[in-house]
């Protein structure tokens, strides 16, 4: 019968397509939202950590501070949706056209088990130094360490 043919020719494939399409669409929507949420949370934590590091640097850089060390436990979450995150940084010098120089600390954070990364930049002065270290969010002793030496240089690092 022709109508039965139409029914089977059109509707069955549509039905089978729906079996695959609906979960795929739902998964895509939810993944997009979850990824977006995690990415935002990671950016927020990264930006806040960068801001803390810059404030620590400029506090120590003040002429009234001769030498000393400051440790700050940052108020960022231990986990982002049950995933810890880690951070690394590199320091580079920037010289502008007028020969005024400063340093930029590029900090890259990675959310474990997801592959989401984000980078934040912190502008520091010429006397800033960076000690290679890794920020582990779920470590019990995680902190930011800034140490000023008598020659005026300030060494920043992740602690814990």
């Amino acid at each position: 019968m022709p109508h039965i043919t139409i029914e089977y020719a059109i509707l069955v494939p549509v039905l089978i397509l729906q079996i695959f399409l609906f979960p795929l669409t739902t998964g895509w929507l939810m993944n997009t939202w979850v990824d977006s949420r995690r990415s935002l949370a990671l950016q927020e934590a990264a930006s806040h950590l960068g801001s803390i590091m810059q404030q620590m640097y400029f506090s120590l850089s003040h002429d009234t501070i001769l030498a000393g060390s400051v440790t700050q436990k940052p108020d960022v979450p231990l986990y982002i949706e049950n995933n810890p995150y880690t951070g690394n940084a590199t320091l580079r010098t920037v010289v502008d056209e007028a020969q005024n120089s400063s340093k930029i600390l590029d900090i890259t954070f990675r959310l474990e088990n997801t592959g989401i990364t984000t980078t934040t930049r912190v502008i520091l002065g010429q006397n800033a130094l960076w000690k290679n270290s890794t920020f582990v969010s779920n470590s019990a002793n995680t902190c930011i360490v800034a140490e000023k030496f008598e020659n005026g240089t300030i060494l920043l690092s992740f602690g814990g």
């Binding site: 002429d63 009234t64 001769l66 008598e150």
Partner: protein
């Protein structure tokens, strides 16, 4: 038909699911999403109110003192109208279980609601000593000694109205907080000891500052320095000034001349006892050196050879180098008054030393001495005028290296000296920091907590 009805049923079910999920998926209020950082606002409000220690003073007053209402007025004026606050002051005690006991509370609302944030601020009573502790010059290494010539066996000139000893005491009061150690050189014998490189009180001789409070005269020790320093061929003690310049270079001292023509006379009341041993103005115990003193000093500072004398036939006298090198800015009415430099004006406020803006410079040094004697001006105390430098710190450098080796701080002003300028000049050059320090003691601390909330809006 059935298919269509089934689809309609499906649509109804999904719509119901959407409505139910929308009911639970309530979006937060914009104020919750994007809140003010009330904690920081509270902290900065407390800091602003304590700008001049007003908050610190008020919280220690009796609870019925009218100052509390002033504090409430200031708090209300500082915060935006939609911010409600509760400021509570606690007594800090350590004698029992209760650490913080509330004393007084100021608020503009009965309750701050469910959501509020607070910041705390610890203040010390004004009964507690507040000190401004200056950074000690030399505490980071290298120097830190201040010598003030207070020789009882020498006389000064162009310090009329003062004695060298009174000037020395005033300088001691002004400057000793800024140095690791301040030593009054009590007589020329002690001066000789220092010139020989022997410490008087285990101080560090290197990099010291030596202030000559004797004006245009400089004390000369008897013995070696009087002998070696006497150029008998030219009947002058310019050789002593040359030796002084060498010592200044060797020990990297800063030699300070507080007024007039530096090193114009030498003085030792025990050595110069003759009737003609006076400066022709009635001050005895002195010998005239004249312009040769400064020229020889600069030669010694720059490690040049001593002895560039020449006979002036018209004046029938021996003269040294360029002879008279200072300028009398008083000759030109336009230049008569010299002014404090902008750097000095800035440090007036910082160190709280306020000499007059205007001065008369009759012994200003010429700027060409910088190139001739390898000097670098590190601080101008008074503005330069037409190539003349009325007051500055000149540091000597060797052409072969970048280190400074000796310095001269000369104030070429007319009498009488204003030692506030001397103090200001030294501090402007060394720039020691001032640190505020607080001492806390039992019963002298209070804890202020400012709690803030928001009303109105969405």
């Amino acid at each position: 038909m059935m298919r269509t009805i089934e689809v309609l049923l499906v649509i109804i079910i999904i719509t119901a699911a959407f409505i139910i999920s929308s009911f639970f998926a309530v979006l937060p209020q914009p104020r919750e999403v994007s809140p003010l950082n009330l904690r920081r606002l509270a902290l900065t409000t407390l800091q602003t109110l304590d700008r001049d220690y007003d908050l610190s003073q008020i919280v220690f007053k009796p609870i019925d003192d009218p100052s509390w209402s002033e504090l409430q007025i200031a708090l209300a004026a500082t915060l935006p109208p939609n911010v409600i606050y509760n400021l509570t002051v606690y007594e800090v005690s350590s004698d029992g279980a209760i650490l913080y006991s509330p004393i007084k509370s100021i608020s503009n609302a009965e309750s701050l609601g469910i959501e509020s944030e607070a910041s705390s601020y610890l203040v010390a009573s004004s009964n507690v000593t507040f000190n401004v502790v200056p950074e000690k010059i030399g505490e980071k290494g290298g120097g830190g000694t201040l010598y003030i010539l207070n020789c009882s066996d020498a006389n000064g000139w162009w310090i009329t109205g003062y004695t060298a000893q009174s000037l020395a005491q005033d300088l001691y009061n002004l400057l000793s907080p800024y140095f690791q150690i301040t030593i009054m050189i009590q007589n020329t014998a002690q001066l000789a000891q220092v010139l020989n490189g022997t410490a008087l009180q285990n101080e560090v001789l290197q990099n010291a500052v030596i202030i000559n409070t004797f004006g245009e005269a400089v004390p000369i020790p008897s013995g070696y320095y009087a002998t070696q320093g006497n150029d008998s061929q030219h009947a002058s003690y310019a050789k002593y000034c040359y030796i002084l310049g060498q010592k200044v270079r060797y020990f990297n001292w800063t030699w300070v001349s507080i007024v007039g023509y530096p090193l114009y006379y030498v003085s030792n009341m025990g050595l110069f006892t003759g009737p003609n041993d006076q400066n022709t103005w009635g001050i005895y115990g002195m010998k005239l050196v004249g312009p040769a003193g400064l020229n020889a000093f600069l030669d010694g500072l720059d490690d040049k050879e001593y002895g560039n004398w020449w006979w002036d036939r018209s004046d029938n006298v021996w003269k040294y180098d360029n002879d008279w090198i200072t300028g009398d800015l008083d000759d030109d009415p336009r230049l008569a008054s010299v002014q404090l430099s902008s750097e000095a004006l800035y440090y007036c406020n910082y160190y709280g030393i306020y000499p007059s803006f205007y001065h008369t410079a009759t012994r200003a040094l010429p700027s060409w001495i910088n190139s001739t004697y390898h000097l670098n001006v590190t601080s101008y105390i008074l503005n330069t005028v037409d190539g003349w430098i009325p007051g500055a710190v000149y540091r000597h450098y060797s052409p072969s290296d970048s280190n400074f080796t000796g310095a001269l701080f000369a104030l070429g002003l007319t009498r009488t000296p204003d030692i506030r300028l001397t103090a200001l000049g030294i501090l402007s050059d060394y720039k020691p920091r001032l640190y505020r320090s607080e001492y806390t003691a039992y019963g002298t601390s209070r804890f202020v907590v400012l709690q803030l909330g928001l009303v109105g809006g969405i």
